[in-house]
Assembly symmetry: C2
Homo-oligomer: 449 residues x 2
Amino acid sequence: MREDREDMQNFFNPRSVAIFGSMKEGKTALEIVKNLVEGGFEGDIYPISQSGGKVFGLEIYTDFRNLEIDLAVIAIPSPSIPPLLENLGRQGVKAAIIISAGFSEVGNFEEEEKIKKIAREYRMRVVGPNCAGIMNTENNLFTSIEVRALAGNTAFITQSGALGGAVLMMAEELGFGFSKFVSYGNRCDVGEADLISYLRDDPQTKVITLYIEGLPEGRKFLKEARETVTKKPIIAIKAGKHEAGRRATTSHTGSLAGEDRIYEVAFKQFGILRVEDLEEMFDLSRGLLSYPRIEGKSIAVVTNAGGPAVMTTDKLEDLGLEVPEPSSALKDKLKDLLPPHVSLRNPFDLLAYGSAETFSSVIKAIAPEYDALIVIFVPTAYMDSVRIAQAVGEAKESIDKPLFTCFMAGRLVEGGIEELKRYGIPNYKTGERCAKVIHQIVLQAQKNR
Amino acid sequence: MREDREDMQNFFNPRSVAIFGSMKEGKTALEIVKNLVEGGFEGDIYPISQSGGKVFGLEIYTDFRNLEIDLAVIAIPSPSIPPLLENLGRQGVKAAIIISAGFSEVGNFEEEEKIKKIAREYRMRVVGPNCAGIMNTENNLFTSIEVRALAGNTAFITQSGALGGAVLMMAEELGFGFSKFVSYGNRCDVGEADLISYLRDDPQTKVITLYIEGLPEGRKFLKEARETVTKKPIIAIKAGKHEAGRRATTSHTGSLAGEDRIYEVAFKQFGILRVEDLEEMFDLSRGLLSYPRIEGKSIAVVTNAGGPAVMTTDKLEDLGLEVPEPSSALKDKLKDLLPPHVSLRNPFDLLAYGSAETFSSVIKAIAPEYDALIVIFVPTAYMDSVRIAQAVGEAKESIDKPLFTCFMAGRLVEGGIEELKRYGIPNYKTGERCAKVIHQIVLQAQKNR
């Protein structure tokens, strides 16, 4: 396997993209051209089809032999792909994304072998086949039929194209953006190891997330991952844990031992953060983008609502984190700040006295004694969530500790949550979700210590 | 403790409600009157305050001695409450909700004892103090300052008023309705046991959910719960598992042994379904409203998207459910229904062939061999989620097995999810959440077998 960074640049930063396939209404190739044009890609876009004509103001080429093509995106029927790839190879094209299905995933191993052979022969890198394509939000490259990702600092790479589509839709709903998106399908050439290696040095990417079913190049992957986690965190969903799940994966042969237990141990050892589902993946990405590290496991919970704080504290302790009481010096300090009757213990329950000023002064007072803070706010009829969010945001800027919020819930806190975003504070729907995120970040910090 | 059902009717079906407290802008009593009026309560509403005058077209009474009051809602400062309660008792009022705080939760045990004594003396039932009130969506009774609940078939009872507020906001966001909502605060008289006993015979309530921190009347609660679960399921969040969480609860004395492990065992033994957080509570309620029972643990997964199906299958097997292969007779049947290349195994991955017709015919064919089905759908550019939802809905009506869906995600499936609601099919954001719900319902069926 070759891992030249220059080769990979053709996928993410091509000067020209040629799209092969029918340019008729509803066809994949046309949808990709549309996404490139509407997305605002500034390089050259060459639609290529025997039909000729024009599409979105672009000429449809019937002959590609005189075009300079950095990246070929192929959405023609599978039997026609090997001869096309051969021609592209001869012409010196160095990168191809094969969107089309009909290969090893339906038992057609022979055709997939042909592709591999041609790629090797011409030193051409291939993503796919049977994939949903690549996106780079930095240069508006959307070589995919999926909904265009918003820009952000998380890269997502996935074996399952359909899962990729679901992730993009969930992200859109959450207003969550990506740096790069890669669906690599049957992985006939480019795989996780190449992609991680590339993303390690991509300045736009701060967090790498991946969905994998098997790891045919387990050792190589782990080597790349180990080198990467010193620079940026990797979050992984590893599916296919049990027998039934595994028989549903397309790639259940030749993977790293195959036993889930081995993945679990390897991931822990190499500092890869494993999550169980997509919601956890989004939660943790958002946490890591704000706070790559949390130095210890002593957590303070500040709240205006008893019940949610108790549930959050339960979850923190379930996960092995600590919610220790404040020192007596700190208690004395808090006595001066707070009305009588307010609890001076952790969780710090401000009750109905949880005004913007009280939240702010308590946060500033307790921050030095804890490694991270969770601020829980349940709105009442009398309180403006935006004011509380501003006070929390300003307090956060004067402390140097990670601060997470749980502004619960619905329309009364929408404005507050928007405000928290401006301060770079990650907000979670429940304190339990927030506790899980802190736990994972603490684990990672311990690993890389 | 008295548990006369007639007594409890005063809280849920009063002919008249008197609200005691300041009727000035922003005050609690005024907000409650507003909620009763705007909510459309058809009984008599008596605002009572020394100010006199009018509010929302209603006369504010300065003297309540000639009024016939089924339910008194009290939001005056705590020191004035015992004398008021004494007067109400003398007048024959049999039910009072004390919203006001300032009692045992801030160390003022003496005042709370006075209330208890008066209640005993006059055989008056008291909810609170320090609570968020009661709602009954059947007769539009909203004696609370919280956002008015939508109508539904789930009752929610909570010790923590602030948590109650958060639950109502989350529910509003989800379009989830309640039959009854009760926040009982410091529980000086009416507690979980009374409420469960009442709700057991409430026809509007199909599922009972509760948030508890401690159970001072543990034995009585378990007795009532045991009798109730034969009629309708109980879902419980028990908070205060660990030391830090417990010290944050207002009621950490005198509870049933206090050790979380004991609750865990008792809940299992009595068939109470324990959940970890509010999202799980909503998920499970929705599942139980559609399917009170699932007969066994053999689950089929039908999908048009490999990745999400693998993750769902993993979760099902993590939880001890089974995802068995179809019989060879069923495989033969499927061969006739499906294009070649489509997997005849469970999970049944229809790939790009997952049209409305294919979903429908596969669901009908496999239903007899499984105890429940999960249908996962990830939309592609070419597919109309409403059509798929209709096909799934119609198929469900011709099988007699619980069918859950996971239409993922965002705006492309919004229409489909609306359609599924019309068929009474619960849809989940992820297959993992759906798996958790099925697991809990299966557990319950095993318990009550």
